[in-house]
């Protein structure tokens, strides 16, 4: 079935057409943005299901331009009466808004790349199937006298964008995710898997890795604060990379001179071993053909061999700073602190396996993931956070002991300049509720600063 023939596609595009037709008599320009979200989530802890939810909603956002003034209104009912009222509300708001000096209408239609972001079978996953996946993890944990917690979830996102300049696009995407935190007397282990299809999730492997890490974590020793060489597993790299994405590739702070890459474009800013791109079309991720302006997404080289090569833009920032949109418009109802940034970061894999990294390390720390990372200085990308889910001390090429969780405080720009080796496989990661992804390999860094330890 073609995606436009889908029942929801028809209903969404019909609602968009009604809004655009209604608004053309009331405003100079009009655009609408429709998000449909179905989220089914089975949550477990202490080896049992504790929560089982299915939520759905759709939000229609109407944005109008009237004599250089902008107004925006939104609703979650798609009947004509509500949609008409929402258009009128946006127009009324615009009448009171100050004239926006840079407002120039909405973008015109462009060719959208054809991507397949939706797995139809995943839309039909049942509560029983999700519970069975949970049981796989729970039974393996329980048989090892461990307790498991985590979630299995499926998200279906429908997105439509239309405007009075001719944009009219619809897309449907799916995301399935399983994660497990397995806990012992003192140890814990984490593993996760994110795929486009529920039926590709590797729950048994997630259970195996989380259990193994948990068992290895028992009896952790405390390491003194200081600088250590580290191996960041894929999830840990992905977490730091996501902060780099938000803080370094925000076009507004970049052009205002407040960003890490301000006045550094074209210069080497990270290790020559690192290449990073915005890769929304990659088949192995959660591919996405267009953004919230309705403009095509595209691959953008951000860092090539350590050199800053690119920035991402939406239509408005592109026009403001004399660049073309890269298809990175954010959801119009995002809070203002959610800035324009890459949505599908991809750090290219290298050639070194994790086993080889460990074998090469004289003394250092293996980190599974981080927890509660905070930004201490945005321009310098100075971050702090804790390790979690399995932290291990390496000596003479072998893991010799689990380590109590450590607090790091480190400039990521510096850390990513200390790369000894890049892992041979990039793994896909995503965060709860979000369809954005980060694909990242293991990284071996010569130094990383830890300034404290937790009690566990």
């Amino acid at each position: 079935m073609k995606i436009q023939e889908h029942t929801i596609a028809k209903a969404f595009l019909q609602a968009c057409d009604f809004v655009i037709n209604t608004g053309q008599g009331l405003a100079d320009h009009i655009a609408c943005f429709l998000l449909g979200d179905q989220h089914t989530l089975t949550r477990y802890a202490n080896n049992q299901i504790i929560q089982n939810v299915r939520k759905q909603d759709h939000t229609m956002i109407v944005k109008v331009i009237l004599s250089g003034r902008i107004g925006m209104a939104s609703c979650n009912q798609l009947d004509e009466q509500t949609l008409y009222r929402t258009v009128k509300q946006a127009v009324e708001l615009a009448k009171f808004a100050p004239i926006h000096p840079a407002v120039a209408g909405f973008p015109e239609q462009e060719i959208i790349p054809q991507v397949n972001g939706c797995d139809e079978a995943t839309e039909q996953v049942t509560a029983t199937e999700m519970a069975r996946m949970v049981e796989v993890i729970i039974s393996k944990s329980a048989s090892n006298h461990l307790r498991a917690a985590g979630a299995v979830q499926v998200q279906v996102m429908d997105q439509a964008v239309a405007n009075s300049s001719g944009v009219r696009v619809y897309g449907r995407r799916t995301k399935a995710e399983v994660h497990a935190v397995v806990l012992g007397k003192t140890g814990s282990g984490y593993a996760s898997d994110t795929k486009r299809s529920f039926y590709d999730l590797q729950a048994e492997e997630v259970a195996r890795v989380a259990i193994e890490k948990c068992q290895l974590s028992e009896g952790a020793i405390e390491l003194p604060a200081g600088d250590y060489p580290v191996i960041l597993e894929q999830k840990a790299t992905a977490e730091l990379l996501s902060y780099l994405g938000v803080l370094a590739f925000n076009p507004v702070t970049y052009h205002q001179g407040n960003g890490f890459l301000s006045n550094r474009m074209g210069y080497r800013v990270l290790s020559e071993q690192l290449s990073i791109s915005e890769d929304p079309l990659g088949k192995e991720g959660l591919p996405d053909g267009f953004d919230w302006d309705g403009l095509p997404k595209q691959k953008v080289s951000l860092i090539q061999d350590g050199v800053a090569t690119g920035m991402v833009y939406d239509d408005a920032t592109g026009k403001k700073y004399g660049c073309k949109s890269t298809g990175n418009a954010r959801y119009p109802l995002s809070p203002s602190y959610v800035e324009i940034c890459p949505s599908h970061l991809h750090m290219e894999a290298g050639k070194t396996s994790r086993a080889d990294m460990i074998a090469q390390m004289d003394r250092g720390i293996l980190i599974t993931r981080f927890h509660y990372v905070g930004v201490l200085h945005s321009k310098e990308i100075l971050l702090t956070g804790m390790t979690r889910g399995g932290t291990f001390y390496i000596e003479n090429g072998k893991i010799v002991s689990p380590v109590k969780n450590l607090r790091f405080t480190e400039k990521i720009s510096s850390a990513f300049n200390q790369v000894i080796a890049v892992g041979d496989e990039s793994k896909l990661h995503s965060w709860p509720g979000s369809m954005s992804t980060v694909k990242a390999p293991d990284l071996m860094l010569s130094t990383f600063h830890f300034n404290g330890a937790a009690s566990h």
């Binding site: 299901i49 299915r54 407040n258 203002s336 404290g452």
Partner: protein
């Protein structure tokens, strides 16, 4: 609202659920933001929907939908029952609920001036004036002024016959100056970092914030920070203003006393708590002057209500008394596991989400000092204000917080401004070093972005806090 909620209860009972509750709600909000004199956001939003929770065969199922028709509600009930059965099939222990009484009640936020009746032009003028005042300072490269208001009308019905209508109005506003000299970037915010400050009130709260009057100071401090000395590192006396102490309470106490965390139910996501159930009544959390309370009845709190989203009445729950850990935030399915009844702290964000254990308004009770007494009796120390960064481990023990601004205190006086300060400690050690709490600047700090749960829910909570002093704290510079 009434009809569809009653229909849902009747249909679910026909299908033999052991218990069910339903929330039907309508939500409206308005957001305005001005950045550098230009309109960044002007939004009016409305949504409505229904959330249905059922207990069947010992498991919970929850389904929400924006559609109000009977056919959709019937479909949702069937789905919720399927989910509940799947939950019940993977349980090791029987789900026990603490009792709920039938309640019939109504609640409305007390307000003087309905924020949705205030002309938009008046709101714009206030934000434009405040924004212009920030931009007088030439080093300010980004000037932000923002305003927020929402109203939720919520009808709760359950299968024991409760009928609870609550209408909650929340307003907030703030300003922020970002100064840059090309090398460094510094930020100052007022009243606080997360879009200002928030209360359950009418527009009179926004009028009383004095955004225009405070803008000049805020902009000057942001500019002065560019030239300020770095905060000295070392173990020192720390004085925290309420704007930062609110976050400290939030992270190291508020989340730590959530019973679902303590019982391991959040371990798959945000984590557990160092305050395990064996600590209750048996653990010195802080010094004897530390009294922390969860109070869902505080007037003006953004975590204030009459009944929680399980139909349990709002309560004032001591959490830490005379420094000892004495209470948890809990719900009907967690409290019985420590032989208690629900503390009425189950909250859901909108009709879309399932209720989970949340903070209400978690306060540090006022102490015996004035702010002036705290500063004047400090020989040497660092005073910090304004939230800049926050990070705490998965059991709410080890933390590190950065602040927007600091001043060095010498011989009882502020002597110089300092930049990029942070402090780090662990929760019980930090609170055990608290030796002075002020009473004269105690106020409610509304936090709009408390995140928890899967699916992730971002909720409003309040913290009453005043200036307080902590001895021997590790202070650093970022």
């Amino acid at each position: 609202m009434e009809h569809i909620a009653k229909f849902a209860i009747q249909e679910a009972e026909k299908l033999g659920v052991e218990y069910m509750d339903v929330r039907v709600s309508q939500f409206i909000k308005e957001e305005i933001e001005i950045h550098n004199g230009e309109l960044e956001k002007l939004l009016y939003h409305e949504d409505q929907g229904i959330g249905i929770r059922v207990l069947v065969e010992g498991g919970w199922g929850f389904v929400s939908t924006p559609k109000h028709c009977e056919q959709e509600v019937q479909k949702c009930i069937v789905q919720a029952i399927e989910l509940a059965k799947a939950s019940g099939a993977v349980r090791q222990e029987k789900l026990v609920l603490s009792p709920v009484e039938k309640a019939v009640a109504e609640y409305r936020t007390s307000l003087k001036r309905d924020p949705f009746d205030v002309p938009l032009a008046e709101k714009m003028e206030l934000l434009e004036q405040a924004n212009a005042a920030l931009r007088i300072q030439p080093e300010v490269t980004v000037a932000k002024s923002m305003m927020y208001m929402h109203r939720e009308e919520k009808l709760f019905l359950n299968s024991v016959g409760s009928h609870i209508y609550q209408e909650t109005t929340v307003v907030g506003a703030g300003i922020q100056a970002i100064a840059s000299d090309g090398k460094d970037v510094q930020v100052r915010s007022y009243p606080n970092t997360f879009q200002g400050n928030f209360q359950q009130a009418g527009y009179e709260y926004i009028e009383g914030l004095g955004l225009v009057e405070e803008a000049e100071r805020v902009a000057q401090e942001a500019a002065q920070l560019l030239q300020a000395d770095d905060c000295p590192e070392g173990v020192q006396t720390l004085i925290l203003h309420g704007s930062q102490l609110a976050l400290q309470i939030h992270e190291s106490c508020g989340h730590a006393v959530e019973l679902d965390r303590a019982l391991g139910e959040e371990s798959g996501f945000v984590g557990e708590s160092f305050l395990t159930s064996d600590c209750l009544g048996n653990f010195q959390y802080g010094s004897e002057i530390v009294h922390l309370t969860a109070d869902a009845t505080t007037e003006g709190g953004v975590g204030t209500y009459l009944y929680d989203d399980e139909g349990i009445s709002a309560q004032r729950t001591p959490l830490v008394a005379d420094g000892e850990f004495v209470g948890y935030l809990s719900g009907r399915d967690t409290a019985p596991r420590i032989q208690k009844e629900s503390s009425g702290a189950m909250r859901a964000v909108g009709w879309q989400n399932v209720p989970i254990v949340r903070m209400t308004n978690v306060h540090l009770e006022p102490g015996d000092f004035t702010v002036e007494e705290i500063i004047s009796t400090t020989e040497s120390g660092i005073y910090m204000e304004g939230i800049k960064s926050w990070s705490i481990d998965d059991i709410r023990y080890n933390f590190q917080f950065g602040c927007e601004i600091a001043w060095e205190i010498k011989d009882g006086k502020r002597i110089r401004m300092l930049k990029n300060p942070f402090y780090t400690s662990n929760s019980p050690e930090f609170w055990s070093h608290c030796d002075a709490i002020a009473h004269d600047d105690w106020q409610l700090w509304g936090v709009p972005n408390c995140g928890k749960g899967e699916p992730y829910q971002t909720i409003f909570v309040s913290h009453g806090a005043s200036t307080a002093r902590f001895r021997q704290v590790q202070i650093g510079v970022s």
